[in-house]
C-alpha cells in the first residue's frame, strides 16, 4: 500500500511538471489542444493526490503501524475520530493535505474557467502547477508520508492529548483551505499580468474562490480561538502568539482584497493595489504554513527546527521577487481608468478600509517578526507582548467597525448631502441613543474603547437593519408580499449584497463580544478544599466534592484517568444556580522504569485541562481545575513496593484503588474561574459572518440567466433607439 501511495505522489509530480510544460507550450504556440491537455493533467493530478490521501487514511483507520507517521500520531486505542484526523498533526501529513486541497481547488477553478479567459488560463495553470510541483517535491523527496518501518513497533504514540478536541481537528483543514484557496486568485492575477489582460476579468473569474478561501480561513481562525478558550486552561481565546498572528495576517489582507476588487470592477481603479494585495495575501499564506514548522520564532507551536526551512524560504522568496518584478514590468498596463471624484464616496471609504486593514496587518507583522528584527538591528533578541499589539490594534479595530457601517450604504463616486442624510440619519440617532443608554444604565463608561465599540456596534446593526427594512418595504409596496416572503426574496435575489450586510453585522457582534469580555471580565485563581466557598464577581462558588474517574472519560479523548471537582455556583442575589464539573485528564508515559515506578507512570504522561463552561448570551462562567497530586505520592510508592510484580489485571485494580483514593481523601485543588460578560457573542458573531459568507457564495442559477436577458434587452433597446 505504501508503495502505491509513493507511486501516486511521484506520478503526480511528473503530471504537474507536464501540466506546466503543456500549458506554457500551448500558450506560446497558441495550440488549444496543449492547453486542454494541461487542464486534463491537473484533473489527473487531483485524482492521484486524492488516491494517495485515501490510502493514508486507510492506514490510519486500520492503525497500520508499519507507516512511520501512523506510529507517530495514532495508535490502536486512539478513538476513531482522532484516528481519521491524526494525519494532519504530522508534518508529512499536513504537507499532503496542502497538496490535496491545492489540486482540488486548481481542478475546480480550471474547470470553471474552461471556456473563458483563453489567454490568461494557461499561465494560471502553469502557476498552479508550479506551486503543486514545489509541495509535491517536498512530499516525494524530503518528507514522504509513506515512509515505512521494516519491523513495525508494537504500539503507536497516539495523538497528542492537547489536540484531542473536535475544534482542533477541523481547524487545520479549514485553515489550509483558506491558505490554499488564495492561490487561485493569485495564479489568475499572475496570468492576467503576463497576458496584459489587467481588466476585471481575472477578478470576476476568481471572485468566488477568493470568497471561499476567505470564509475557510476566517472559520479556521475562529475554531482555533474557540479551542484555545475551551480546551487550554488559561481562559483566553487570543494571545498574539506568532502562529495565531500568521493565520490572521492573510485573512486581513484577503478581507482588504475582497473590498478593493469591487472598486476595480465598478470603476477600473486600484489595479496595482489589487494585484499587490493578492500577491501579499498568498505570500502571507505561504508564510503561515511555513511559520508553524520553522522554529524560527518562539512559540508553543513552533515544534522543533524542521528541515524544510531552506526550501520554503527559497520558494517564498521566488514567489515574492517574481511577482514584484512582474508587477513593475506591467505598471503601464495597470493605469487607472478613472480618478477619485470625492473623498466622501464609497471608493474612498473602501480605500480607507484597505489602508486600515493593511495597517493592522503591518502592525501584526512587525510585532510577530520583532524578535528577528531586533536581533538584526541591536544584536539582542527581544519580543513585544500582547499590550503592545492591543495598543495599536484596538483603535484600528474601532475605525474598521465604523467603516463597516459606512461602506455598504454610502454612494459611489460622490455622496450628496441628501444621500448621507438618507443613509445615516437613523443609524446615527440609534447609535447616539445606545451611547446614552449605556452611560445612564450600565457601568460601560469605565472602559472608553469598549464604550465606543458598543456604540459603533449599534451603528452597524442599525445600518444593516435599515437596509433590510427598506428593501422589504419596497418589495411589499411593489409586489404586495408578506414581510417574511419579501425578506426571503430580497435576500435571495441579491445574495452577494445581503450576504455582505450579514457579514458586517457579524463582525460588529464579534467585536461586541471582544470589547465586553476583555474589559469587564472577573477572574480569580484560588485554592480550595472540599466544602470551602469563595466569591467571583457576583457569584458564590463552592467546591462541593472531588471526582475521580478511571477508564471512564466523558469527553471521548481516551484518557485513562480523570480527576475533577463538582462545583456549586450561586448568584449572590439568589436566583441563578448551577453546577460545574471541571476536570483534568491524565495519560500514561514510559514503561514504569522511571522514578515513579509501575504505578506512577500513569500520572507522569501528558495531562490536559478539561474546562467546564456554562455558556450564556449574557455571560459565560468558565472554570478549570488543577488537582494537587502530591497526596498520591505515598500510595503510589507503597503500591510500587507491594504490587509491582502482580499480573496486569490485578495491577489495574490497584490503580483503580489509587485513583479512588483521590476521591476518598481529597487534597485541596487550585481553580481558575472567569466570569466573562457577552464572550459568547464572539462565537455568535463568527457564526453570523459564516452565514453571511455562505449566503454570498450560494450559487444563483437565476441571476446568470437574468444577466444574459438584461444584456440582450439593453442591446435591443440600443438598436431600436438607433433605428
Amino acid at each position: 500500500m505504501a508503495a502505491v501511495g509513493s507511486a501516486c505522489l511521484f506520478v503526480g509530480l511528473l503530471t504537474a511538471v507536464y501540466a506546466v510544460g503543456a500549458a506554457l507550450y500551448g500558450a506560446l504556440t497558441a495550440r488549444r489542444r496543449w492547453i486542454d491537455s494541461s487542464r486534463y493533467a491537473m484533473y489527473a493530478l487531483a485524482g492521484l493526490v486524492v488516491t494517495a490521501f485515501g490510502l493514508l487514511e486507510v492506514a490510519y483507520l486500520t492503525s497500520d503501524l508499519s507507516f512511520r507517521i501512523v506510529t507517530q500520531s495514532s495508535s490502536a486505542d486512539t478513538p476513531t475520530f482522532y484516528k481519521i484526523t491524526g494525519m494532519w498533526s504530522t508534518q508529512e501529513g499536513s504537507l499532503l493535505l496542502w497538496v490535496l486541497l491545492l489540486s482540488i481547488f486548481s481542478a475546480a477553478a480550471l474547470r470553471a474557467t474552461r471556456r473563458t479567459m483563453r489567454e490568461t488560463v494557461p499561465y494560471a495553470t502553469a502557476v498552479l502547477g508550479g506551486i503543486a510541483i514545489f509541495f509535491l517535491a517536498l512530499s516525494v523527496f524530503a518528507e514522504s508520508p509513506f515512509t515505512t518501518f521494516a519491523i513495525p513497533p508494537a504500539q503507536g504514540n497516539g495523538l497528542n492529548p492537547l489536540l484531542r478536541h473536535p475544534a482542533m481537528m477541523i481547524h487545520p483543514p479549514m485553515l489550509y483551505s483558506g491558505y490554499v484557496g488564495f492561490s487561485i486568485p493569485f495564479a489568475f492575477a499572475i496570468g492576467a499580468l503576463i497576458t496584459r489582460r489587467t481588466g476585471a476579468d481575472w477578478i470576476r473569474a476568481t471572485r468566488r474562490f477568493a470568497l471561499i478561501a476567505w470564509t475557510f480561513l476566517g472559520f479556521g481562525v475562529m475554531l482555533g480561538a474557540l479551542w484555545s478558550y475551551s480546551e487550554l486552561g488559561w481562559g483566553g481565546y487570543w494571545a498574539w502568539d506568532p502562529v495565531e498572528n500568521a493565520s490572521l495576517m492573510p485573512w486581513l489582507t484577503g478581507t482588504a482584497f475582497l473590498h478593493s476588487v469591487m472598486v476595480q470592477e465598478k470603476r477600473g481603479m486600484l489595479k496595482v493595489w489589487n494585484v499587490s494585495l493578492i500577491v501579499t495575501t498568498f505570500v502571507l499564506a505561504l508564510l503561515g504554513t511555513f511559520l508553524v514548522r520553522s522554529g524560527i520564532l518562539s512559540s508553543i507551536h513552533a515544534f522543533g527546527a524542521s528541515t524544510l526551512g531552506a526550501p520554503f524560504l527559497a520558494f517564498i522568496a521566488t514567489v515574492l521577487v517574481g511577482s514584484v518584478v512582474l508587477v513593475l514590468v506591467r505598471l503601464p498596463d495597470l493605469r487607472s481608468e478613472a480618478r477619485l471624484d470625492s473623498l466622501v464616496s464609497r471608493e474612498s471609504v473602501f480605500v480607507l478600509n484597505n489602508l486600515v486593514l493593511v495597517g493592522v496587518c503591518f502592525v501584526i507583522f512587525w510585532g510577530t517578526f520583532f524578535p528577528l528584527i531586533s536581533e538584526a538591528v541591536t544584536g539582542t533578541e527581544s519580543s513585544v507582548g500582547p499590550p503592545w499589539f492591543n495598543q495599536y490594534v484596538t483603535p484600528l479595530a474601532l475605525v474598521l467597525v465604523l467603516l463597516a457601517g459606512i461602506g455598504p450604504v454610502i454612494a459611489w463616486r460622490r455622496a450628496t448631502l441628501a444621500n448621507l442624510r438618507r443613509a445615516f440619519l437613523v443609524p446615527v440617532a440609534l447609535a447616539a441613543a445606545t451611547l446614552l443608554a449605556l452611560l445612564v444604565l450600565t457601568p460601560a463608561a469605565e472602559s472608553v474603547p469598549s464604550l465606543i465599540m458598543f456604540t459603533l456596534t449599534g451603528f452597524v446593526l442599525a445600518v444593516v437593519g435599515q437596509e433590510l427594512w427598506r428593501g422589504v418595504g419596497a418589495r411589499r409596496a411593489m409586489a404586495g408580499e408578506s414581510p417574511p416572503v419579501a425578506l426571503g426574496r430580497l435576500v435571495a435575489r441579491n445574495r452577494r449584497r445581503y450576504g455582505g450586510y450579514v457579514v458586517h453585522a457579524g463582525i460588529a457582534l464579534l467585536f461586541l463580544g471582544v470589547a465586553a469580555s476583555s474589559a469587564f471580565v472577573d477572574q480569580r485563581d484560588v485554592r480550595l478544599r472540599p466544602g470551602q466557598t469563595t466569591e467571583v464577581g457576583a457569584y458564590e462558588v463552592t467546591y462541593r466534592e472531588p471526582t475521580a474517574r478511571f477508564l471512564d472519560d466523558r469527553s471521548g479523548t481516551g484518557a485513562p484517568i480523570t480527576f475533577g471537582a463538582v462545583i456549586d455556583v450561586q448568584h449572590l442575589n439568589g436566583g441563578e444556580r448551577f453546577t460545574l464539573d471541571p476536570a483534568r485528564n491524565y495519560y500514561a508515559a514510559g514503561d514504569g522504569s522511571g522514578p515513579m515506578g509501575t504505578f506512577g507512570r500513569f500520572f507522569q504522561g501528558e495531562s490536559t485541562t478539561e474546562v467546564d463552561v456554562r455558556w450564556g448570551v449574557r455571560r459565560d462562567f468558565w472554570m478549570a481545575v488543577q488537582p494537587d497530586l502530591r497526596a498520591l505520592i505515598a500510595p503510589i510508592k507503597e503500591a510500587n513496593r507491594r504490587f509491582a510484580d502482580l499480573p496486569g489485571d490485578a495491577q489495574t485494580l490497584v490503580l483503580a484503588a489509587i485513583v479512588d483514593g483521590y476521591r476518598r481523601d481529597p487534597p485541596p485543588a487550585t481553580f481558575r474561574t472567569l466570569v466573562s460578560p457577552m464572550i459568547a457573542w464572539i462565537w455568535i458573531g463568527g457564526g453570523v459572518m459564516l452565514l453571511g459568507a455562505l449566503l454570498a457564495l450560494w450559487p444563483t442559477t437565476g441571476a446568470r440567466e437574468r444577466r444574459v436577458t438584461s444584456v440582450y434587452a439593453a442591446r435591443l433597446g440600443r438598436e431600436l433607439s438607433r433605428a
Binding site: Q72, L162, V243, S247, H301, W366, G367, S382, D525
Partner: protein, 137 residues
C-alpha cells in the same frame, strides 16, 4: 485648488500619516520589548528592574509547589548545566514538565527570576515534536 494639486496634497498627507505611524511602531516596539535571555546570560549579567524573557529547560527534580498557585523551579541552558531559579504563579500550561523547554517572563531579584503572573509558555514535548499544533495558543 486644481485637481492635480489636490491629489498631490492628499498623497503627501497620506504618506506623512503612514510615516508617523510607522515611526511610532518602531519606537514603541523597541522601548516596550522584553529581551530574550538564556539562564547563563541572566546568571552572569542581569540588570535589576529590567524585564527578561527566559528560555531554557526545566531542571529535573526542581519543580516544587508553593502556596495557593505558586511554583518554584529552575531553568537551565538548552545545552549546558547553568541554571537559574524561577518563582512563578498563575496558570501552568498542560505540557509543563521537568526536562521540557519553557519560556517565562520576569525580573531578576537576588539571583532569582521573579516571573510575571501567567507568563509561562511550555513548548510541546519531544514525543510529539514533529506534530503540528494549532495556530491558536
Amino acid at each position: 485648488m486644481n485637481p492635480r494639486r489636490k491629489r498631490k496634497v492628499r498623497a503627501v498627507v497620506l504618506l506623512t500619516v503612514a510615516l508617523l505611524l510607522a515611526g511610532a511602531l518602531v519606537y514603541t516596539s523597541f522601548s516596550a520589548a522584553t529581551e530574550a535571555a538564556t539562564p547563563s546570560q541572566l546568571v552572569t549579567a542581569a540588570d535589576a528592574g529590567r524585564s527578561y524573557e527566559l528560555t531554557g529547560k526545566v531542571v529535573d527534580g526542581s519543580v516544587e509547589r508553593r502556596g495557593d498557585d505558586g511554583l518554584r523551579f529552575a531553568v537551565r541552558d538548552r545545552t549546558g548545566q547553568t541554571a537559574i531559579p524561577v518563582v512563578y504563579s498563575g496558570v501552568v500550561p498542560d505540557p509543563f514538565r521537568e526536562g521540557r523547554e519553557v519560556i517565562v517572563e520576569g525580573r531578576v531579584r537576588g539571583g532569582t527570576l521573579m516571573a510575571d503572573r501567567d507568563s509561562l509558555v511550555t513548548k510541546c514535548p519531544s514525543k510529539f515534536s514533529e506534530q503540528k499544533g494549532s495556530p491558536s495558543s
